[in-house]
Amino acid sequence: MEFGPYLMLAMLEGAVTAAVLALTAVGLSLVFGVMRVVNVAHGEFFMLGAVLAWWVASHVGGPPALGFIAALAIAPLAVGGLAALADMTILKRVNYDPERTIVATIGILYILQQLTLMTYGPEARPVEPPFNTRLALPWFEWGEGGFQLYWPWGLGTTSYKLFVIGAAAAVLVGVWVLMARTRIGLLMRATQLDREMALAFGIPVERVYAMVFGIGGALAALGAVLIVPIQQAHYLMGGDPLLLSFIVVIIGGLGSLPGTVAAAVLIGLSDGIISVFFSPTLAKILATLLVALVLVFRPQGLFGTGSK
């Protein structure tokens, strides 16, 4: 195959990664933005979403689409509820102290991960996609007959992958509408700007926090439900999304949602492309070091504006 079609394929795969990553990272970013805490257990919410998706899909009979739709509805709700519960029972009690929260969420990480290992087991299990038509992609060529399209062998994607990209975009628009156009979003933004003042105006800050933590967890779970027909559900699958989300949130500027989405697209696409040229381990080393150095020398992120 020529280079052009190859790059396009890498970018399509990258776009799927970027879509799921954007959902997961926006969840993390929302929690950091509003609550000013870092949730280290975020990757485990992602993992729980995938595992619950498998559980729901395998208990709902009928065509695969039915199980998938049920999983799409149930898994994020359940994980969101669990996250809100964790917020109310644990994070609230350490007063959202940044450092103690990190230690507590590391504890939650191990609890969720190990409980999954005890119940779900160490196997990786797939969920059947609701539809999976293979689509061949055209490529153009300047030949003797001028501009023409043709279908190179092996260049293709599946309808499901395109659906993942579309669904993630739709959810992100939904999050934006929620934050910018609804009363709940207004309360969240008010809490983010000034917690004390929000309290003084009678905003139930604790409930807002529980809700934000729940939405954050639900977004991660939603991303996982979308990806689980392509990857498989496994109890250790939370590590990579956590690391990548961290990278995205830091590059995008801590707490900035548009920056997070932009960084997710950038990282997702370049992840697809970089891993074509470098060994994945080397790519990860470089990405991790880059992020650490960004935090050291430009803590407001690459897209952030000035330090506050």
Binding site: V103, G107, A292, L295
Partner: protein, 314 residues
Amino acid sequence: MSDRSKTFALHGGVLALLFALQFVLPAYHHGNLARIMVLASFAVGYNVMFGYTGLLSLGHALFFAAGMYGMGLAVHYGGAGPVVALLAGLVAAIAVSLLVGLLALRTAGVGFMIVTLMFAQAGYLTVLYFTTYTRGDEGLVLQQAQRMLGSLDLSQPGPRYFAALGLFAVCMLAVLWMVRAPFGKVLIAIRENEERARMLGYDVFRYKLAAVVISGTICGLAGAAYGLLFGYVGATFASVQYSIFPLLWVLLGGAGTVLGPFIGALFMFYLIDLSSSVTSAYMLVAGVALVLLTLFAPQGLVGELRERVWRWLP
């Protein structure tokens, strides 16, 4: 008795007890205790930063592994003896901690935690990337002949226990001396109120950097000793888990106490040891312990003891 003599009586007593225990313990617990003392030295190093300077690092596996690999590679490829190899491990740990300190100390709080976590992750991946030399997850096994310190065979339980006790005593007494010296008081002042320490004219950055290097050196020494005493150098020791463990031990035992790291390591080691005989998900214990500790006993065991009974405890 003055506070000073009480302090020396208590810590000397603990060391004497550990010395005496080797003659009475059954083989299994004898081996465990040697391991715990090396791990406790790791925790003692971690405590210098977390407990006394107030710097919460999530990347101490990097220092442990730097010492361990500095030692292991020197033995495996350089044919070095234990003393030279330990020195190589120390040099590696000092270099790495100096570099990490210079960069990471530009951030504070949550930023510092994430940066140290990222550096440690990069270190872990580097170990995996150079699998040809480090053998990755499989690790390097040091032969008995490579672990002879003069006529002492460090692979034998007796000398091993003795070496572990020596290491732990050196680390603990060094930290005890440090926190009683003016230098340690400045670190505590920085932990309590960094701005005020700066106002008093202390170069806070330098003190913090010194704390990072001291902490990294002790952890590196523990890592090198662990590899030497137990004959194995593997990538697991560079993974996130080994950054979380010292935090857990110190939190459980009591941050900012000299004996806390040992008590924490002792409890957690046996807790995990007991639960791993029941289930493979033994890290569940670590998770539950972390959550319960942050909720109910942020001072840790020895810290609570100091709060309630022995106010003079260093």
